[in-house]
């Protein structure tokens, strides 16, 4: 269904448009995001995102401290997926300083990254439903599952949300006894939760009516605008960095990349559900092949675990990226041979995925703008870094 743009015939009737401001304090803006919306009746004529209300100078702070000290700050970028953010930063510095990662650490990293993907997608769908008006009930379900995974994170790293678990060349410490069994248990029970979730949602008439054909993103625009992650794949573009860069040990696992057909809000919702199923596949394989012994951090980096202020990568630059649940999370680090990076930059997927928000929203109603924003899946910590 093609949406007719009410804008064209507007001048015939009246030129009265209404400019409203959504946010920064608004229950559906996922934090402190602000949109300046121009409305004709209830139809959106123009939409300008305004951000910076959570600009915490991540880059400036990181350039003033040692490499390892920035690791906890990456947790706070996208506060749903601290492990994925750690992963991206660790990969970049490993590329910069040419560090190898031992086998066992790679397995731990992949397991953590995929668990994070489950946490993120489940919460995003909960919030998307929240934006649809199903106030808080789906979130209750979503957070129930999230808590189970957060318990695992807490056992492993000591913190629920801000794990700060990865180190250059490995991870901070070994898995405590019994955690693997807990993870296996969670992975085993997760599909039944997904089925429960889907039984409630996927064929729900209201959800379909509100989400289908809303906010359609064409693949050409998506590529040109640098959209990544589930949003890009919902538009039908087969681009998953786990497959393309083959970073870490993703080559060993057998998983598929779910693709959408239309690129509307419903596809974005459903691609996430399917991605969770694929993540579970990766988790199962990783748990099966998990090496029982081995180092958790490379020998080269062991002295720097405690003495991290002396870690000086050679002069040079590196850009590395991971498939974070929101999209491509890239880090660009320039080293000048001192313990502090000369330049530290984050390529935040949430920020760049917002580029096309206006294109998606024009012609829709205000209520649709809210769910389109919900389906873009932003986290303000990352948008504003």
């Amino acid at each position: 269904m093609e949406k007719t743009f009410a804008v064209k015939n507007l001048s015939l009737v009246d030129n009265q448009t209404l400019e409203i401001n959504i946010g920064p304090q608004h229950p559906s803006t996922h934090g402190v995001f602000r949109m300046n919306v121009v409305l004709d009746g209830e139809t959106i004529v123009s939409l300008k995102p305004v951000m910076g209300y959570l600009h915490r100078n991540h880059e400036q702070i990181a350039e003033n401290m040692s490499y390892t000290s920035s690791m906890p700050y990456t947790d706070r970028l996208d506060y749903f997926n601290s492990m994925s953010n750690n992963f991206g930063y660790a990969l970049t510095v490993e590329k910069l300083a040419n560090i190898d990662v031992p086998e066992k650490a790679e397995y731990i990293r992949v397991i953590m990254a995929e668990l994070t993907r489950l946490v993120n997608h489940v919460a995003v769908i909960g919030f998307l439903l929240n934006d649809l008006g199903a106030f808080f009930t789906p979130v209750l379900y979503a957070f129930r599952e999230r808590e189970k995974i957060l318990d695992i994170f807490e056992d492993i790293s000591g913190a629920r949300m801000m794990c700060n678990y990865f180190r250059f060349g490995g991870v901070k410490r070994d898995l405590p006894a019994g955690v693997l069994d807990t993870i296996k248990d969670v992975v085993k029970k997760f599909p039944s939760f997904l089925e429960e979730f889907e039984a409630l949602l996927t064929k729900n008439e209201i959800l379909c009516m509100r989400c289908q054909n809303v906010g359609v993103l064409k693949p050409e625009l998506a590529i040109s605008a640098g959209i990544t992650g589930p949003m890009l794949r919902a538009s039908g573009v087969n681009y998953d960095i786990r497959k393309i860069d083959n970073y870490s040990i993703y080559k060993r696992f057998d998983f598929k990349i779910p693709l959408g057909q239309k690129g509307d809000v419903f596809d974005r919702y459903y691609v996430r559900i399917l991605e969770m199923r694929e993540s579970l596949k990766i988790l199962e394989q990783a748990l099966k092949d998990f090496p029982t012994s081995g180092d958790i951090i490379s020998k080269k980096m062991t002295p720097y675990l405690k003495n991290f202020r002396n870690f000086k990568p050679p002069v040079g630059e590196a850009y590395a990226r991971v498939e974070c649940p929101k999209g491509e999370l890239g880090f660009y680090v320039v080293s000048d041979g001192t313990p502090q990076p000369w330049r530290y930059h984050v390529r935040a997927p949430s920020l760049i995925n917002l580029t096309i928000l206006e294109d998606l929203c024009i012609g829709h109603k205000v209520a649709d703008a809210i769910i389109i924003l919900g389906s873009v899946d932003i986290v303000l910590g990352e948008v504003d870094h």
Binding site: M51, G52, H55, N57, E59, Q60, E63, N64, L221, I223, S224, A225, G226, I227, V237, Y239, I244, G316, E317, Y319, R321, E328, G330, Y332, V334, W342, R343, H345, R347, L351, I352, L354, T355, I356, D384
Partner: protein, 184 residues
């Protein structure tokens, strides 16, 4: 593709544009050539259609704008381009007409480093507010000392009838000395 091969290929296809290899990246010597290079990359059979990251960087003598590109159709990459501009005339042509993803990232680089992207449809500050002075990520930026009231603060407080102690007024008169080498 190795960066040396890539350089020779570009020099062959785009005569008249000077490139220089900097580590694993290509420096476009003249910033105004950048759109031509980007247009070629996107529309030739290289099909570099995805601009991943745009960022600024401050090297004291000059500012740099760095571009990381990939191809989503051919699944190739990474290609890094960079341009260097003077600190006092930081003008770089914008890549928004070619790659839409540069829109917010160029605004961010403008906000943080003051690099002016010519041809950008809406070059405003992205994170800081309008009226903010200076570019906070430049190495010579000195931030305010937020524990110390200054004359304009006192003026504002007086206007809003907030009582201020004499001691504080006295303190505001003495100028702040900020040591540049105070960092650890």
């Amino acid at each position: 593709m190795k960066i040396e091969e890539f350089k020779t290929l570009l020099e062959l296809k785009l005569p008249g544009i000077a490139f220089k290899q900097v580590r694993d990246s290509l420096l476009v010597e003249n910033p105004s050539d950048l759109p031509k290079v980007a247009f070629f990359l996107k529309n030739s059979d290289l099909e570099i259609d995805y601009l991943s990251s745009v960022t600024g960087s401050d090297y004291l003598d000059y500012l740099e704008s760095v571009y990381h590109l990939y191809s989503t159709t051919k699944k190739t990459g990474l290609i890094t381009l960079r341009v260097r501009v003077k600190r006092d005339a930081p003008n770089v042509p914008s890549l928004v007409p070619i790659y839409r993803s540069a829109e917010f990232q160029e605004r961010e680089a403008y906000d943080m480093y003051g690099i002016i992207y010519e041809g950008h449809p809406d070059l405003r500050r992205l994170f800081m507010w309008e009226g903010f002075e200076g570019f906070p990520m430049r190495k010579d930026y000195i931030q305010e000392d937020s524990e110390w009231l200054e004359p304009e603060d006192l003026e504002w407080l007086e206007k809003h009838q907030v009582p201020v102690t004499e001691e504080m007024k006295e303190r505001a008169k003495t100028p702040r000395i900020i040591k540049k080498d105070a960092g650890e």
